[in-house]
Subunit: 316 residues, 2 copies
Amino acid sequence: MKVLALAGGVGGAKLAHGLAMTLQQGDELTVVVNTGDDFEHWGLFVSPDLDTVCYALAGLENPQTGWGRAEESWHVLQEMRTLGAADWFALGDRDLATHLERSRRLRSGQRLSEVTASFCSAWGIDCRVLPMSDDPAPTLVETVDAGVLPFQEYFVRLRCEPRVSGFDLSAARQAAPAVGVLQAIQEADVVIVCPSNPWVSIGPILAVPGILPALQMHGCVAAVSPLIGGVAVKGPAAKMFRELGFEPGVMAVAECYRDFLKAMIIDFRDEKYATSLTQWGIIPYITDTYMSDKNQRRRLASQILEFCQLLLKGGL
Amino acid sequence: MKVLALAGGVGGAKLAHGLAMTLQQGDELTVVVNTGDDFEHWGLFVSPDLDTVCYALAGLENPQTGWGRAEESWHVLQEMRTLGAADWFALGDRDLATHLERSRRLRSGQRLSEVTASFCSAWGIDCRVLPMSDDPAPTLVETVDAGVLPFQEYFVRLRCEPRVSGFDLSAARQAAPAVGVLQAIQEADVVIVCPSNPWVSIGPILAVPGILPALQMHGCVAAVSPLIGGVAVKGPAAKMFRELGFEPGVMAVAECYRDFLKAMIIDFRDEKYATSLTQWGIIPYITDTYMSDKNQRRRLASQILEFCQLLLKGGL
């Protein structure tokens, strides 16, 4: 089975890792990752979602934070503070090598997707990881209290505190999909939208020209709700829904993906929405969607893949 | 007393540190540092001599190696290796912050001398450290066996193994002295040429337009021989002298500086050259010039400064 996953940061990385652990030989996994969070820090190009996904796939991730590297040290950051550099975005020593070497290669003319492929190979990652685009596609967050903010300013520096009124994805709308993205969607037997933030993780991917139409034409797209009982496992998704005037929950997530969604994986705590989903023509699959550890990632991925097999066979 | 020191890497850094420790309140020390060794590594601007001098002055240096930082870790380097980056030039984690933040500031338009002043302030360095130039002035090493080599290729990657036939200092000859350098030489009561390599540490400084004439007009320049008993304390100075056809020793060093040297500080193991120096019109001062630890740096600096006081009073 050819599986394509759309992923943002932590939640997306967990499920992508689960899928990679579960898929059998001969199966193929492509993960298309949001790059709307990318920004420059300390003069380096930082791609937080791409790194979170790759570190998870490579088993290098920090299990406590969900982002960054395991067994990390912070000596560079400490010295950067002494020199008066910005320290609101914490880059650890091991993590820093990724940004350093990627920045060097990008400046020398390589594409982000090329660098990513090379790093995946170095880290022993078997599946294919593609940035949504090789072009810069920074997400801007429109807020009520603090104007228009670059994503990381909103997300990290201001800890998601400003109230959101919208998102400016115009850069993503003008970016070309990375080479291979559209073909991978077309060739996938199933597309899985990971439990990532619909506004700032999946939204930018959908904004890249060609990707939404490819999903609409696909026929077998399943999304995993990032909200459980109306609450986000991590991050500001629920807060964003509320600030934008939506009741945070499974149906609000389904609304975001409604025009291309065949099925939706929801938590048993949200079982009550199964009927509404069915009424919308979306096939619900109910399970425990919380991934507390590696075994849970594997368990959820395995259940989703079995469910998708049934979808493909037309058994549902 | 206003003291100006010309310095390269390890030997220069040691004496500069000794001078900084010895000078009294009201005294002033300016260290002008070779930047002919500067190069780009991992996409970052690295200035080895400037850093060695600053780390020594700040008490941050690695006492074992003479270069780099004390209590250093190597996590970034380890990860860079995994990603296939060049690892022949070892940058430690704490050291890396210097190159990162300096590179960021240079790219944003600051001058090297500005960045250096800011870092010195952050590191609590009281004296003034000036790069010889704010312009790139890379030294090229002309070799018999390996053609023309960028300095660090010769020095670190090839471990000074190729036989030297000359040096291309044309970049230094076209560089402007950093703002303040010529004035600091003019205003100094005494100029001390540190025990650094005459060819690749002091030579590039002398090649920067205006510096040699300023020294020739100065009247009180004293050099400390980097060779003791014909042997370099560290580095390829003796090997270079031999390959260029000179007998390595005090007289060969004196020859390099002959047209502006008033005095020379030589080791007691080289006492026999005192007469020859005197015949050349250079006043010799004989002492133990080997600086094995901090106390020895202070002791040598203190002796040199007392000697220079006598020179200034015309007592010699």
